[in-house]
Symmetry: C2
Amino acid sequence: MNEANCTQLLEEHGIKPTANRIVVLKELVKALRPVSLSELEYKILSIDKSNIFRALTLFKEHRLVHVIEGGSEGVRYELCHSHNHDHDEDLHPHFYCEKCQRTTCLDYAEIPEVRLPKGYEKKSANLMIKGICPDCQSKL
Amino acid sequence: MNEANCTQLLEEHGIKPTANRIVVLKELVKALRPVSLSELEYKILSIDKSNIFRALTLFKEHRLVHVIEGGSEGVRYELCHSHNHDHDEDLHPHFYCEKCQRTTCLDYAEIPEVRLPKGYEKKSANLMIKGICPDCQSKL
DNA sequence: GTTCTTGCAAAATATTTGCAAGACG
DNA sequence: CGTCTTGCAAATATTTTGCAAGAAC
């Protein structure tokens, strides 16, 4: 995704496209899997972590990214693919490899519905499957 | 669960039942939902947090507790109900209320299977559903 | 005595905020 | 000018380790 696309994407989500935000967004696009704040810090040396954090917080508020939890290293951020601003429609399971610690999107699948007792209102869901990925499996 | 039961439970899992560990285990039993380290710190004033942490780490290694992620406040610990020491059989979804921040066990349900691509080996899974719980719903 | 356990302190890690300077309009 | 954004520093929060003293065996 080029700069113009990033700018457009930010604007579509009601975010003013500043230089920093475009850089952060580009990294999110480039990473094809959820990335943590510290990974972004490491990748983006030109921007202070507080501003990466602030960009991510803003993106989250504007539903441009969603937060993936579990695995390790705290929360990870991943681009939303749907444009529904009310709740994420593109929630998919993730796989966390306990050996190489990579988080992979299982985006061919959906998070199955769980019947909730009366009165519970679901807003989002996080499904993290843990185990060993094929790469690490073959190295055993 | 009384002290004798706790002692027995620890021994069944190959953990030497020290006074501190029994106290920590009792709190885990008493809490009917996953608790975080800081909640335990707050409840157990008599034991230093480093030792609560060490007890939990030990419990985890011996498959007496499992770790629930997502929601907030980092990881939470919950008693394993199964006695299978190889992997948790009793993984169930949890519900995190975004308003009151409580984590509830949806233990009537199972985490549905997701078909994994060839080569992936599942060890465990974490399903956290987020939204508003009935209590908070009624207060809106 | 040797090993395990504990409490305290502090290191390591992660997340979040305050604030003044600068950019933008 | 007034508002938004940024970088730096630092406050918070969280998790984890080092170590010496004491308990357990």
